[in-house]
Amino acid sequence: MKYGKHLLAILFIVIIGIAPTYLLKYEGGFNYLLAFGLVILAYQAVSFIFRSNLNWKDFYTSKFNILTAKQTEYLNFEIDQETLFEKAKEMLAENGYKKLIVDNDRHLILVKEPISFKSWGENIYVTLIDQGNGNSQLIYESVAFQVYTWGKNEDNGKKFLQNMEDSFTI
C-alpha cells in the first residue's frame, strides 16, 4: 500500500514534468508556465520568511494548505504539562534537533529543519495540552514544505515519539 502511494506520486511527478513540454507548444503557454512557477516560488519565499514565526502554525498545519505535507501524532502521558514540556525539549535536543523556538506560555515548541538539496525543509511543532489530574497530551505535528514526502518525515516522527516513551525508563 505504502509503495502504491509512492508509485502514484512518481506517476504524478512524471506527468507534471512532461506537461510543460506540451504547454509550451501552445500560444501563451509560456505565460501559464511562468505564472505557475512564480506562484510556487512566491509560496516558498513566504514560507522561508514566516516559517520561524509560531503564529503561522495554523496556516501551515491547516488541512486546506495543499502545498505542505502534514503528519499529526498524539501521545498521552500521566505527567503534568510543565514536566512534560521540559522533557519534550530535552528529548528534541537529544534527537539532534538543535534549533528550538519555544513559546513557554502556549507550551509550544517549534523545530525548524533547514532547506537542503534533499528537501524544502520541515517544521515540527510539539504542543503540550493539559488534560487535568496531572495528565497531559503531546501533539506532534510535522509540516514539510513540499506537496509529497517519501516517508522519512513520518519515520522521524514515529522515532521521536518512541524515544519519548522510552525515555520514561530512567
Binding site: E78, I79, T83, E86, K87, E90, S167, F168, T169, I170
Partner: protein, 71 residues
C-alpha cells in the same frame, strides 16, 4: 503503583536539592523530577547506582513496595 519512590525523603534527609543531585549524578533535573513523582516506567541499575552513590544510601532507602489498597 505498588512501588513507591522515596527520593524526596532521602533528599530531605541529606538536605540536598534536586538540582544538586542532578549535578552529582549527571541525571537531568527533569528525569529526577519524573522519578521523584513516581511517574517513571522503569529505573536502570546505573541510575540507581548513581543516586545511591550521591545520597550515600541503599536502593531500599529509595524504593519501597507497598500493597495497593483495594477499593
Amino acid at each position: 503503583m505498588a512501588i513507591l519512590v522515596n527520593l524526596d525523603v532521602m533528599l530531605a534527609k541529606r538536605k540536598m536539592q534536586l538540582k544538586e543531585l542532578s549535578e552529582h549524578t549527571g541525571i537531568s533535573n527533569v528525569n529526577l523530577s519524573i522519578l521523584k513523582q513516581g511517574k517513571g516506567k522503569a529505573i536502570r541499575f546505573s541510575t540507581l547506582d548513581a543516586i545511591c552513590k550521591a545520597l550515600d544510601c541503599q536502593p531500599g532507602d529509595i524504593l519501597e513496595w507497598k500493597e495497593e489498597e483495594k477499593e
